[in-house]
Symmetry: C2
Subunit: 229 residues, 2 copies
DNA sequence: ACCTGAACACCGTTCAAGT
DNA sequence: ACCTGAACACCGTTCAAGT
């Protein structure tokens, strides 16, 4: 209707491309997110995508950006009170984790393409600013926010790497179980896994997060890079 | 000579395969580490590799293992004094970083294949034991060592992602420089980059590492997962 | 036991040509 | 301006067949 002004409206819109990409991602996994797959879902041939995007990584970048946008990282709200930095960091890290978890292999997408994607850069910049106002000098503020982001990223990568609960099943499989039951190292590993399974991923995540934030808290007053003696 | 006993000695040895893989990795990068490339360097056809390895990821796994072995992670020395856990963690993290840095895209290889590769699992198990003896209960000891390993991994991934110093060059390129010179966010980013360039990667790495270790130190006496209130 | 040759089912990307 | 058809130069993997 309102497209009537243009002679021929394009058959594919860039945002439809990233939607199709995300759909394939969730339904079939990252390795099946292929130019031909995306194109076929849009009723188009693969080379058509090259009119709208530079290359495949360009599409992946936009997919990452979309994931972060869905998670509310479009316009980050910085804390009003400067002393709220720890709470803000905690909240932001948790919602970054949730954003990554919201799509299959989301962590790989967000960081995999170009780690310096626009969306990620903005997140880093924002949290650097928050930490800077909280008392960190610029350098350590930026290192701190990268440390946090790396933590979130690494945690979720592993979280998403575990194939459903087949791991626990494989552990209880007969052939290896009997041969390794006696190995004390395996006893420890199984013990740890059992303890973990009693807690949610969010709880496990938060523990490590608070460890880092505690470390930051104690470093905020005594800055100074470890000197090379 | 001493191979004379066997009728026909195999044309390729498994360890020659991983050596060839690492050579290609360093010379041409991860994306060119291909079965045909490896095979051709050994004077053999690609399908021949399937006699010695299950699939490509099996080769990548062995390459990761080799990298860790070169870095001395074959037989980890645990600290004699139980109170030396922080120093041991620091040292281990630094040498893990060095091992990953010793090959192009080493961090991707080590973690990329199966994060639960044998070599990585042993490292986790070892540090979990050390932290356990230091006073952490098993669950938190394992979470702590994963946090550290994730930190190393994330840091090195980014460290290796930056293409030489072309980044700094691109920043000073005329077209964008003039248009964004006034943007205060960009001023901050450039400021941070300048400060970073004055320090070694090792120094930057160590700061974040000590933050985490400080956090662990303060949590060792007051354990207790953050409760879901 | 160990490797080759040939094929299968894919990739990302380029580019002339269509509309 | 926007898309197709056909091709290029690759992938990992399988498998009958060779030696």
């Amino acid at each position: 209707m309102r497209e009537r002004l243009r002679p021929k409206s394009p058959r594919i819109e860039p945002e439809a491309v990233v939607r199709a990409g995300l759909k394939i991602l969730d339904e079939e996994g990252l390795e099946r997110v292929t130019l031909r797959q995306i194109a076929s879902r849009l009723g188009v041939q693969a080379p058509a995508l090259y009119w709208h995007f530079k290359d495949k990584s360009d599409i992946i970048d936009d997919m990452a950006q979309a994931i972060l946008k869905e998670g509310g990282f479009e316009d980050l709200i910085v804390p009003s009170d400067k002393n709220e930095w720890a709470n803000w960091l905690t909240l932001t890290a948790h919602s970054l984790r949730k954003a990554m978890l919201s799509h299959r292999e989301g962590a790989r997408i967000v960081a995999g393409a170009s780690f310096q994607s626009k969306a990620m850069m903005r997140l880093k910049t924002r949290s650097t600013q928050v930490l800077n106002e909280a008392g960190f000098d610029l350098l350590h503020a930026s290192l701190a926010s990268e440390t946090i982001i790396n933590y979130v990223w690494g945690f979720v990568i592993e979280e998403q790497a575990q194939p459903s609960e087949s791991e626990a099943d494989r552990m209880n499989a007969e052939p290896i179980k009997s041969s390794l039951e006696s190995d004390p190292e395996w006893k420890m590993i199984i013990d740890v896994m059992n303890q973990r399974s009693k807690l949610t991923g969010e709880q496990l995540f938060d523990w490590g997060l608070q460890v880092i934030i505690d470390g930051l808290r104690s470093s905020i007053n005594c800055p100074g890079l470890s000197e090379k003696k």
